[in-house]
């Protein structure tokens, strides 16, 4: 979905405001008593306009959440796990994996190892027992690739207006 499609009412101002919000507040979100009012002040609108815009982005599934991205392994442990799943079983196996609350990302990728997911837990013991449980439930071996060194983690994403930001009324 391109950004310009966010704009139900064709208001250029709203597109521009959305772009500013997304570009400027992927980091340095105010940790103050009234963050949405503070953002509104800077962008020239009121608190309610910011809250409505965020709710709108949330409903459209563009916004995952407003909050912290933790340093890896700071508040828990995680690993990148991969499975080589026979094609005809992929959807069923993927659904089993997704059903774990310990799994956040779960993707099909074009490779012999075709199912890739991230498993998190509070500690190594819980992580290992979750992986074991998954192997038992799916009868497929897991290749676990925990992070050894972090050179770069997502520090926000540069947002460009796709299609030059034209609005389609």
């Amino acid at each position: 979905m391109a950004l310009d499609q966010l704009n139900d009412h064709g208001s250029f101002h709203k597109t521009e405001l959305t772009q500013k919000l997304l570009n400027e507040y992927q980091h340095n979100f105010p940790v103050t008593s009234t963050p949405y009012a503070d953002i509104g002040k800077r962008l020239g609108v009121d608190e309610q306009a910011i809250i409505e815009l965020l709710k709108d982005l949330d409903e459209k599934s563009i916004l995952s959440r407003v909050g912290p991205v933790f340093r890896p392994n700071r508040i828990g442990v995680s690993t990148l796990a991969a499975m080589a799943v026979p094609e005809h079983k992929l959807e069923a196996i993927a659904n089993i994996i997704s059903s774990y609350s310990a799994v956040n990302h779960n993707y099909e990728r074009e490779h012999h190892f075709n199912l890739w997911f991230v498993v998190t837990a509070e500690n190594k013991l819980l992580l290992d027992s979750t992986l074991e449980d998954m192997e038992v439930k799916t009868d497929i071996r897991i290749m676990s690739l925990p992070m050894e060194k972090d050179y770069h983690i997502d520090l926000g994403f540069p947002l460009k207006l796709i299609n030059g930001g034209r609005s389609h009324d």
Binding site: M1, Q26, S64, P68, V69, A82, E108, Y151, F157
Partner: protein, 169 residues
């Protein structure tokens, strides 16, 4: 005293979209707005929070193609290349992970994004040229289906018995 575990368990789900979100979180965990704000700032200061703000779903913003590029890099070059790859704005992660021989010879993992496959491939070419890795064994794994994507849930609130930490702020 703030219950770190309860705070993180609420915070990992994201801020509520209300006028005083930190106060609202404080009410959920029997704390105060000041304590919550101070604790978040403390974690930011220590680098435990890498960034704080809007977390968006790239796919919904027109970056429809994403791939994991994996490299088999000699030990003496892996740190330098991990950093070199991390500099591009289309690279959201650059991590060293263990090899799994003989199935998996790769030790450096990057997530790269683009508006379509061609865009991703152009980005990869740029990485190869700029970081001087011509001839280094690598593979590009496009994601074809997303089964699940959300923030990491490290702390399962149902698991109240272990690792409960009280931390003074």
């Amino acid at each position: 005293m703030i219950d770190e575990r309860r705070l993180l368990s609420v915070l990992q789900k994201g801020l509520p979209l209300v006028s005083h979100p930190y106060e609202s979180i404080a009410n959920d965990i029997n704390s105060t707005e000041d304590e919550v704000i101070n604790y978040i700032q403390l974690m930011q200061g220590k680098g435990d929070i890498k960034r704080f703000g809007l977390v968006v779903r790239h796919r919904k913003l027109g970056y429809k193609s994403n791939a994991m590029v994996v490299w088999d890099i000699p030990e003496q070059r892996v740190d330098a290349l991990g950093q070199c790859f991390g500099q591009f704005d289309f690279v959201t992660l650059s991590y060293r992970r263990p090899r799994h021989l003989p199935d998996w010879p790769y030790n450096l993992f990057c997530m790269i994004h683009g508006q379509d496959r061609e865009d991703v491939k152009r980005n990869l070419e740029l990485m190869i040229k700029s970081c001087d890795v011509n001839g280094v064994n690598h593979e590009l794994l496009f994601s074809t289906r997303c089964f699940k994507q959300r923030g990491a849930i490290y702390i399962n609130p149902d698991n109240e018995n272990d690792n409960s930490k009280k931390v003074a702020v």
